[in-house]
């Protein structure tokens, strides 16, 4: 029987980590992810896990220690947000290229500057091409579930890549929800042992990790790493299917909500998808159909499936909680439009909304603005402005 609990998103992630009982957790405090190592160090202090907790002096060292721990043959985890993730930047790439399936709980927060502790996605969006698998979570339950699946995905022999599980800072990280936890023994059986093929602590077969890799071989290593990212998609599907058998909770590459008969669609990540679903229900009651498309797996980006599913819509609004400062739309917009174009899907009119930057509240009224515009485009086929800002004072 599942365990019914009331937990915040941070506590849910920490509880998942407790159940996984990794070899090493190395972390540094930063709002709003601080609670994750706080909870976890309490588990250590109370003997609920036998993990080595490494209270590092920076996030750079957190990721460096995770790399050392994972390469040594252990399972390593960490948590961070915003500037902490930015300080890890260099090592994010090194973790990925070294094919070390570290798991990172990313509690999304605005990346400086200016300094701001509230939620948007500018931190993890910047790391979207660092070679990490990125999985996004709408609520506490999803944050917990995704953490439980992360090791299985990253450690799969066809993958061997680090995994970042994202949830919205404060909005879900500090919101207490009712959720279903999986029993400890079932988690243990589901996650399994980590048995790497090669590792530093194997004295019978010592290895060297992290070479200077010149033009003679570096390209081949990058190509191999790219393949691992391509292969991760099927593993995410397999692991999610197995997780569904265990829990009854179904996860795919994305969630399409209220799609039937809809000509308008709004693409939105994480907690705002919840708000959008609520508005979609209200609109449905009024006879207006707007679908909500919530990406779950963002890296690797499931181009084929996304293009196939979105082809049927007449109008699509892509909502980005991150500004790319490229005068060409947010990161989701760029990825989605290029997926559609690459797959020969030219039917839908696509617009972009940048919203919620620096934690600006996104209310149902705001979502209605997006829905109405998308419905209007679906009806008229006319787009006046492709790039839009939502909720900023003009």
């Amino acid at each position: 029987m599942a365990i019914r609990e009331r937990l915040s998103g941070n506590e849910a992630m920490a509880v998942a980590m407790k159940q996984i009982n990794p070899d090493v957790v190395a972390a540094f405090p930063i709002t709003p992810s601080t609670e994750v190592p706080q909870y976890f160090s309490t588990f250590v202090a109370n003997g609920q896990v036998d993990t080595e907790f490494v209270p590092v002096e920076s996030e750079h060292s957190a990721m460096s220690a995770c790399i050392g721990a994972q390469a040594a043959g252990g399972r390593a985890m960490t948590a961070t947000s915003a500037n902490g993730l930015a300080l890890m930047w260099e090592c994010l790439y090194i973790a990925a290229c070294s094919r070390l399936p570290i798991v990172l709980a990313c509690v999304n927060r605005t990346l400086s500057g200016p300094l701001n502790i509230h939620n948007d996605h500018s931190d993890s969006m910047g790391a979207r091409d660092s070679g990490w698998i990125q999985i996004y979570s709408e609520n506490c339950q999803e944050a917990y579930d995704n953490m439980l699946m992360a090791n299985r995905i990253g450690e799969h022999p066809d993958v061997l890549l680090p995994v970042m599980v994202c949830q919205d800072g404060f909005i879900t990280s500090h919101a207490i929800e009712n959720l279903d936890l999986v029993e400890d023994d079932k988690v243990k059986a589901f996650v399994g042992e980590y048995n790497p093929e090669e590792y530093l602590l194997n004295r019978e077969n010592p290895i060297a990790v992290g070479p200077l890799d010149h033009f003679t071989h570096c390209f081949e290593h990058k190509r191999q790493q790219a393949q691992a990212m391509m292969d991760a998609k099927k593993v995410v599907i397999e692991v999610s299917a197995e997780f569904e058998k265990l829990t009854g909770r179904s996860y795919g590459l994305f969630e399409e909500y209220n799609a039937e008969g809809a000509e308008a669609c709004v693409v939105v990540l994480n907690s705002t998808a919840g708000t959008a679903k609520y508005v979609a229900d209200q609109y449905k009651a009024q006879g207006k159909k707007v679908a909500v498309f919530k990406p779950r797996l963002y890296r690797p980006f499931p181009v084929d499936e996304i293009a196939e599913v979105l082809a049927k819509y007449k109008a699509i609004a892509i909502m980005d909680k991150a500004e790319s400062f490229n005068a060409a739309g947010g990161p989701l917009f760029t990825d989605f439009t290029s997926a559609l174009y690459a797959k020969g899907v030219f039917g839908p009119k696509v617009i972009n909304y940048i919203y919620g930057l620096g934690g600006r509240d996104v209310k149902t009224d705001d979502i209605e603005v997006v829905f109405n515009k998308t419905l209007e485009i679906a009806a008229t086929g006319k787009v006046d402005t492709v790039f839009n800002y939502l909720g900023v004072r003009e």
Binding site: V56, A69, G74, A208, G210, D213, T216
Partner: protein, 312 residues
């Protein structure tokens, strides 16, 4: 067991030939001797900061390390190895690894005094059972001899060039060994590869087999950066010690011990004049520079003697 050069020779070599360090480089000499102090039956996980040592000893697909080796980046050798050590502790508890494994992190002075200082300080303060070794060649040699905070005053480097107006580096060296002593570690030392290597070997053994975090600062002359003929390596090591430019000492649980007091302390100029990077200070009119350096060396040496409770 007391050090014996001939007995030590029977221990296995743990750094192979075939690495790409320059001919006559001081660093691999240091590394070989440190690794020799490992018990033959012990496995080692060795990390290195980006730098000459790393790029030359693990250039894909060749590793010169007979033990496990990891390189991550420039500034995080200490944090990286601390993570491996933490995994060892966890896996040992869980019965997943057997035998003894020792942990050594190497960094040059750039990766230790400068960009890696925070990572080093953190790992040492946390008390991981590991040894951090700084091989100090006094500049960023790997990128082409740029000044570091370990570069001696007036040295000519590519970012502190001796010009018509500015005579090389204008600042004194950072006292890294002192900084590490202030971390109150169980073992801190300064050493060099001299003579039959007794000092270096014995300190390595203490550092490796003292439980907790240990730090070694080891002089490693660089023929390219210091500008001297390669056969002079050991003479430069010796002169650094005999002039008290690089005193040999250790700090065991806070207690300072000076391991070698030259009977006849040589003038620092004897050490400097062997090196092309100080050529300009020997020009007429620049005598004050040598005097300044001598005064600083004397000051630091006397301070060290005072800390060790010895007479100057």
């Amino acid at each position: 067991m007391a050090y014996n050069l001939k007995e030590a020779a029977k221990k296995p070599e743990r750094l192979t030939g075939g690495h790409r360090m320059c001919a006559g480089c001081g660093a691999p000499v240091v590394v070989r001797q440190i690794l020799r102090a490992l018990k033959p039956e012990d496995h080692a996980v060795i990390g290195s900061a980006t730098g000459c040592l790393e790029v030359s000893t693990f250039l894909y697909p060749y590793t010169a390390w007979k033990d496990s080796f990891i390189h991550n980046a420039f500034e995080n050798s200490a944090a990286n190895v601390s993570g491996a050590e933490a995994a060892y502790v966890a896996m040992k508890k869980r019965g997943k690894v057997k035998g003894e494994t020792k942990f050594i992190a190497f960094g040059g002075d750039g990766g230790t005094y400068d960009i890696g200082l925070q990572s080093l300080s953190g790992a040492m303060e946390r008390g991981h059972d590991m040894v951090y070794v700084c091989y100090d060649n006094g500049a960023y040699m790997n990128t082409g001899i740029q000044r570091s905070s370990a570069t001696p005053k007036y040295a000519d480097t590519t970012t502190s060039p001796a010009g018509k107006v500015i005579p090389g580096k204008l600042q004194w060296r950072k006292d890294l060994t002192g900084i590490m002593a202030s971390h109150n570690l169980p073992y801190v030392c300064q050493t060099a590869a001299i003579g039959n290597m007794k000092d270096l070997y014995e300190k390595s053994e203490k550092a490796l087999y003292t439980k907790g975090a240990a730090f070694m600062n080891v002089l490693a002359p660089c023929p390219r950066g210091w500008i001297y003929n390669t056969p002079d390596l050991m003479e430069l090591n010796k002169l650094a010690v005999e002039t008290c430019f690089w005193p040999l000492y250790e700090i065991i649980d806070g207690k300072y011990i000076v391991n070698y007091k030259p009977k006849n302390k040589l003038p620092v100029a004897d050490f400097l004049k062997k090196q092309g990077r100080f050529k300009h200070i020997f020009k007429a009119g620049n005598e004050f520079m040598i005097e300044e350096i001598q005064a600083e060396v004397d000051k630091r040496w006397n301070e060290l003697l005072r800390l060790a409770g010895e007479e100057a």
